[in-house]
């Protein structure tokens, strides 16, 4: 079952085509990575999903229903550019935002007291936002995004501008929400973050979906049969006659095996020659590499 389905979505601003015929599905209950460089059209897509703007054409389903005016209440969105009313008190502001998401005053209070306790910010209720530090404001912003228990949480660059402590806190909250069944779209241009958090990804470039799928499948698809081998002492001189060496540095030697050949061949070769293997791993491409390769391929 998918929480979100996009079909041939197109959005143009004047003559600029920001989203160009994008189709993908987001499975329920996973952290889904939306990757792409700055200006790829990620924010434009998010704005369409959150009903901030309308697509020119294409169809979108949220949890099986065509996107409608009730759906924004089921979505929590944290934009890349964070924003709060600076002069408003934290409690009042969050109550207001919660009520705009369809909560009653009592529900809002209940949800807020849960989050205030959870994030240990109970004594901020009466503080004005501009009295808080930037890190504190980020916490408030996060609460604003999740307080209505959205089915779908959309986080645009959630870690940008966060100090390591807050970043870790938010990360663990995201994981906890995912564990409880919230579907999460995690949009970023920082490819390495995706590998840590997401099971599924879509790669967007120039408004188009260039690649999508499960992280491990994509990695497998793009793997180049490269292995990293580090041994005690030097490798024998005839090693290069048997294996194609890609590179060599203090971490070890990177070896390319022809397709159809596995890592065991390399290992058994070493064992046969009584070479002590200190480190061995299959090198999977990073998303950065995959992205660059994919973009080059499609051009």
């Amino acid at each position: 079952m998918n929480i979100l389905r996009l079909e041939q979505v197109v959005k143009t601003y004047g003559s600029y085509r920001a989203v160009n015929d994008v189709t993908f599905d987001i499975p329920k209950g996973v952290v889904f990575g939306m990757l792409g460089p700055n200006g790829a059209g990620k924010t434009s897509l998010i704005r369409i999903i959150t009903s901030i703007t309308k697509a020119d054409s294409g169809r979108i389903w949220l949890d099986g229903e065509p996107l409608n005016s009730q759906h924004p209440e089921q979505i929590g969105y944290m934009p890349e550019e964070r924003g709060l009313y600076k002069k408003m008190k934290v409690g009042e502001q969050l109550t207001y935002l919660a009520r705009l998401k369809g909560l009653t005053a009592a529900q809002a209070r209940e949800s807020l007291s849960y989050w205030f306790k959870r994030l240990d910010i109970v004594d901020w209720w009466e503080k004005k936002v501009d009295e808080l530090s930037k890190g504190m404001q980020q916490k408030v912003q996060f609460v604003a995004t999740v307080l209505h228990k959205p089915k779908l949480l959309i986080l645009d660059e959630p870690f940008s501008g966060l100090d390591p402590i807050n970043a870790q806190l938010i990360e663990s909250e995201i994981r906890e929400l995912a564990r409880q069944g919230t579907s999460i779209i995690f949009s970023t241009h920082r490819m390495e973050q995706v590998e840590e958090m997401c099971r599924h990804v879509v790669l967007i470039n120039k408004g188009q979906n260039v690649l999508e799928g499960e992280v491990k499948n994509i990695k497998a698809e793009f793997k180049q049969n490269h292995f990293l081998l580090d041994v005690d002492g030097e490798l024998p001189a005839d090693f290069a006659e048997h294996f194609a060496v890609v590179s060599r540095d203090e971490m070890g030697t990177v070896v390319h095996l022809p397709s159809g050949h596995g890592g065991n061949e390399l290992l058994s070769w070493c064992i046969d020659r009584k070479i002590t293997v200190r480190h061995f791993e299959e090198l999977l491409p990073t998303f950065n590499e995959i992205f660059i390769r994919r973009v080059q391929e499609t051009q």
């Binding site: 004047g14 703007t53 924004p72 209440e73 979505i75 934009p79 924003g83 709060l84 935002l97």
Partner: protein, 441 residues
Amino acid sequence: MQNLKLIVWREFITRVRKRSFILGTLLAPLGLLVYFLVIIGLSSYSGGGELKVAVLDEADMLGPIPDDKGVHYIPAADRSLDELKKAVEDGTYNGILRIPALGNMQQKNLTVFYYSDKKLPPEKSEFIEDRIEEKLRDFKIDSLGIDRRNLDVLDTKVAIDPEKLDGSEDDQSQYTAAVGLAIGGIMAFVMFFMVLMYGQMVMRSVMEEKTNRIVEVMMSSVKPFELMLGKILGVGAVGLTQVLSWTVLSTLVTLLVPMIMDIDPQQLQQSAPAGAGAAQINPEEAQAEGLRIFAELSKQNWGLIAFAFTIFFLGGYFIYSSLFAAIGSAMSDDMGEGQALTLPVTLPIVLAFYITAFAGIRNPDSGLMVFTSLFPLFSPIAMPFRMAFDPPWWQVALSLVLVVAAAVFFVWLAGRIYRVGILMYGKKVTLREIGKWMLWK
């Protein structure tokens, strides 16, 4: 609808709770109170104490002069100037008033001399001149043997009383125009002031949300149009609250001042600076005048005026505040470009006000004024002004229809600009581009 209510309430309550709003709302009438007190204090200030003046009436023309306005006139015709000068030096008198004889009854100017080392205050000098002129007039009347009763009937007051050709209804008087001018002028000014002030408040509020970046969070919960409309309604409610408070408080102040100062309004009028002929009007006449103005005021169709004013106010406010909202949404963080974008919106308001102030006062029914009071960008200021001069009813009706239609149209149009502008960051926007946004899907 629920969201709109929440937005309106937030826009309203966050402003009304602000210290600056509370102070502004309370202080303005208080300022009025202080202003009144100062004016009254100044005008009843006797101008430097009592003055004792020896009157050396050389031709014995004036007779005794009653004390008046802090000046004591002491007859001293039986003493010489030198004697009197000594008395002034002693401090018995403050000064000597020497009144030479009139050459003949036809003489129209007379120089009177005042001897003192201290300067006569200008105000006192005026009082004394007035007194002596009165006395000399009495002297001339008696000397020429004119019957006072005949004299009184010489002056005839003339007033133009406009009448309808069919002689029907609406008995207008000479005061109609003056009262109309006052009512129309006040309404035009209030309208001008409110539309400009609260329109710009809407604009600032839109810009604040945009630069704060809260707008994207808001957009994920509410429709852009809801947010814009909520803002316009909320700020409008603040404006109405302020005007209402000012009206109530000012009324209280005007009622309270005489009580605090223990002043009888009649007295107030007499002690007012004796400028132009104000002092010459005798109390009964002033009262009659007041009654006539009052009659004129009560003759105005207040129900209709209030109804039309409200519609024009709302219409004007919606038109301009939505335009300001659109402009605010298009502005980037940089305030510098503001002028170029706001000018096209402020210009029509100012123009409407000037046309009304200059052309309207001269002739409220001129072709220019008729056009100005129908054109919806101008009519909220111009038509309430004309209303006081009894314009053809169809023009009022047409103007009302046009202003309502225009308000709906401009709110819609502004919504189309706003939804694009509010999410547009990091580039300067020209009016041409704003024009293009209206056409975006």
